[in-house]
């Protein structure tokens, strides 16, 4: 099939990861917001994890397409 599924997965995780991480950074001083998550900035950490996974997916998809060429 012509579509490499790693590309949309990579893109989605990169975009959502960036969104969450930036939102997490911007709200990092908001103690009230993060009280429910036990004073942990879950937005930032989850965002970074998603970003890492997204970039990994994109990187491996590019590598495989190079090999095929």
């Amino acid at each position: 099939m012509g579509l490499d599924i790693k590309i949309p997965i990579g893109l989605l995780f990169t975009i959502l990861g960036l969104l969450l991480a930036i939102y997490g950074l911007a709200t990092s001083g908001d103690a009230e917001l993060y009280r429910r998550s036990l004073d942990i900035n879950v937005n930032l950490w989850t965002g970074l994890a998603m970003l890492a996974f997204g970039v990994f997916m994109l990187a491996t998809s590019k590598l495989t397409s190079k090999k095929e060429e």
């Binding site: 579509l3 599924i5 893109l11 959502l16 997490g24 998550s37 036990l38 989850t46």
Partner: protein, 571 residues
């Protein structure tokens, strides 16, 4: 705790981006949909790791996520039996023994295999019951999701129902099975990333694994069991009275492990369809095993949250409250209530997106399986045969719309008449329970005949309904729970125990009667007809020269050992 939360722009933005991507995948795949094979069988060309994840993602629908967490709270660690005793051995069996016949026979669906192996009436019975069942299953899960959104977020029932249905409709309509499978992989990763932080936060809150076990001792004692009843999987399975599930090891191994799980994972077209979309026989056999790897660890994602939720009820200082339904906990609310309890704005959007993703992967699975069975096994077989492939492609696309519309109707029906749905699910359980016996005999005993299979299946279904009619779980109030024949000859300690034993009786009846009737009737299929369909008439698959990690047997042994190790750790 009041359920206070604020969905803000960031939460909605996350949901919108996700919706955009699932629709985008469907849109991109649209131009590849040239034949009915592309649309209904994904052109049999998808790499194994993708279908392997789709294989378990389609089963990770919202009902499973919500239901497994509910069981985790209600029964504790013993819920893992659905995975380590139930799913894993069945997936191994499917890969090693059954996939060669499904994939090798060139059947396009599970009912079609039954036609090739047995006869038209066996196929017809399976195709019709399966089609009705999948459509109602997708309607029930739509109803469940829309109800959750309504009670927790105050979203309009009609709104969330229609939005989720339309999105699934559009991406399946555009890209068929390929689109469903690709989206299932995306949804799988989203479900993991959306729920994993919940488990981590919950464990931190409760003092780690040790803290969780200590709190669960209190839960067990409070309910009148020994201290470890909530935190051990096997230790309290010696008798039905010592664990909250009300089952013993025999019911677990035979009822759940053998009959129910093998029946589900090996004969349900919903999951088997994913493996049949593989690009090669080796791929098809690897798919259930690739799925089994992550499947083994899903309990940590879906069952542990339930255990955390019930443990938190012993810690008033955590400020967590599980909503009540009558005078017991409303276990189905575990996941959403935990999401709202721990996730701040932003993460909450992601968690809700994960919940919707799980709903969509389950529903799309039902819709695609329905499409194939309807188009090939009902429409092409009984309504309009010998048309061009273009015609069947068009029919398959229109069937997507039809299927989703009927699901929506079923969802509203579920809302109006709760009992009708319970009743329907019961009937389906009766039909499913004996199915594995039919396949087992069909694939491994060449003497089994069409009449044997058909009447064996019917008598298995009858046995299930009679067993259900003369037994009841303790405390049953409605006839849907059992005892509808008026006299109750046996009372099971729990509904789950009753289900397990209903399945065992149905399976045994189907097995015995299929054998007897087969011996009494003539085999109409010649050995040549059954080549590739029956074990003894099919050439062995040669796998010399394939590295060990690509061969099903070594992979299965590895997975089996891992599941046993997990069972020992969480004994």
């Amino acid at each position: 705790m009041e359920l206070s939360f604020n969905l803000s722009w960031i939460d909605y933005l996350i949901m919108l981006v996700y919706f955009g991507f699932v629709l985008g995948i469907g849109w991109t795949l649209k131009r590849y949909m040239k034949s009915s094979t592309d649309f209904l069988e994904a052109g049999r060309s998808i790499p194994a790791w993708i279908t392997g994840l789709a294989f378990i993602a389609t089963n990770l629908g919202a009902l499973e996520v919500i239901g497994m967490a509910a069981s985790g709270a209600k029964y504790g660690m013993a819920t893992v039996h659905f995975y380590w005793v139930g799913a894993i051995p069945a997936m191994i069996f499917l890969a090693i023994f059954m996939m060669p016949f499904y994939y090798g026979s060139k059947a396009r669906s599970v009912p079609e295999y039954l036609k090739l192996r047995f006869d038209e009436k066996t196929r017809g019975f399976n195709a019709f019951s399966f089609a009705v069942m999948t459509i109602f299953a997708s309607g029930i899960s739509m109803y469940a999701l829309a109800m959750l959104m309504e009670t927790l977020l105050g979203w309009d029932f009609n709104f969330s129902l229609l939005v989720s249905a339309v999105i699934v409709l559009v991406y399946v309509y555009l890209g068929g099975l390929t689109s469903a499978i690709y989206n299932e992989v995306l949804q799988f990763f989203l479900i993991v990333i959306g729920f994993a932080p919940l488990v981590i936060l919950g464990l931190i809150n409760i003092g780690g694994w040790e803290g969780l076990q200590e709190s669960l001792v209190e839960v067990a004692v409070r309910n009148g069991y020994e201290g470890g009843a909530w935190s051990h999987s096997w230790k309290y399975m010696g008798s039905t009275g010592s664990n909250p599930m009300g089952v013993e090891w025999m019911g677990i191994i035979v009822g759940l492990g053998f009959v129910l799980s093998f029946g589900y994972w090996c004969t349900n077209f919903l999951v088997v369809q994913r493996a049949m979309a593989a690009d090669s026989m080796a791929g098809a056999r690897k798919i259930p095993l690739i799925g089994a790897g992550p499947k083994m660890f899903l309990p940590f994602l879906v069952i542990i949250p339930g255990m955390i939720a019930i443990a938190l009820t012993t810690m008033p200082e955590a400020g967590f409250e599980l909503p009540l339904k009558g005078n017991s906990y409303d276990y189905d609310k575990v996941i959403p209530v935990l999401l709202i309890h721990y996730f701040p704005t932003g993460m909450l959007g992601l968690g809700l997106t994960a919940l919707m993703a799980s709903f969509m992967s389950g529903m799309a699975g039902n819709v695609t399986a329905f499409n194939t069975v309807w188009t090939y096994d009902i429409y092409q077989s009984y309504i309009n045969s010998n048309k061009s492939d273009k015609h069947y492609l068009r029919v398959a696309q229109l069937t997507t719309i039809f299927g989703v519309l009927v699901s929506i109707a079923a969802a509203y029906m579920a809302r109006m008449f709760n009992n009708v749905m319970d009743f329907l699910q019961l009937i389906f359980a009766f039909i499913n329970a004996p199915l594995f016996a039919t396949f087992l005999l069909g694939m491994f005993w060449k003497r089994s005949t069409g009449h044997g299979a058909f009447f064996g299946l019917i008598s298995g279904t009858l046995a299930a309904s009679i067993h259900h009619g003369i037994t009841a779980p303790a405390g049953a109030e409605t006839l849907v729970k059992g005892g509808w024949m008026g006299t109750v000859v046996h009372t099971y300690p729990s509904e789950m125990a009753q289900n397990f034993w209903t399945a065992i009786y149905a399976f045994t009846a189907a097995l015995v009667l299929t054998i007897i009737i087969s011996l009494a009737t003539r085999q109409k299929k010649s050995d040549e007809d059954m080549k590739g369909l029956v074990y003894s008439l099919t050439p062995r698959i040669r796998e010399e020269g394939i590295v060990w990690y690509n061969r099903p047997v070594p992979l299965s042994i590895l997975i089996g050992i891992m599941a046993i190790i997990l069972s020992i750790i969480f004994w």
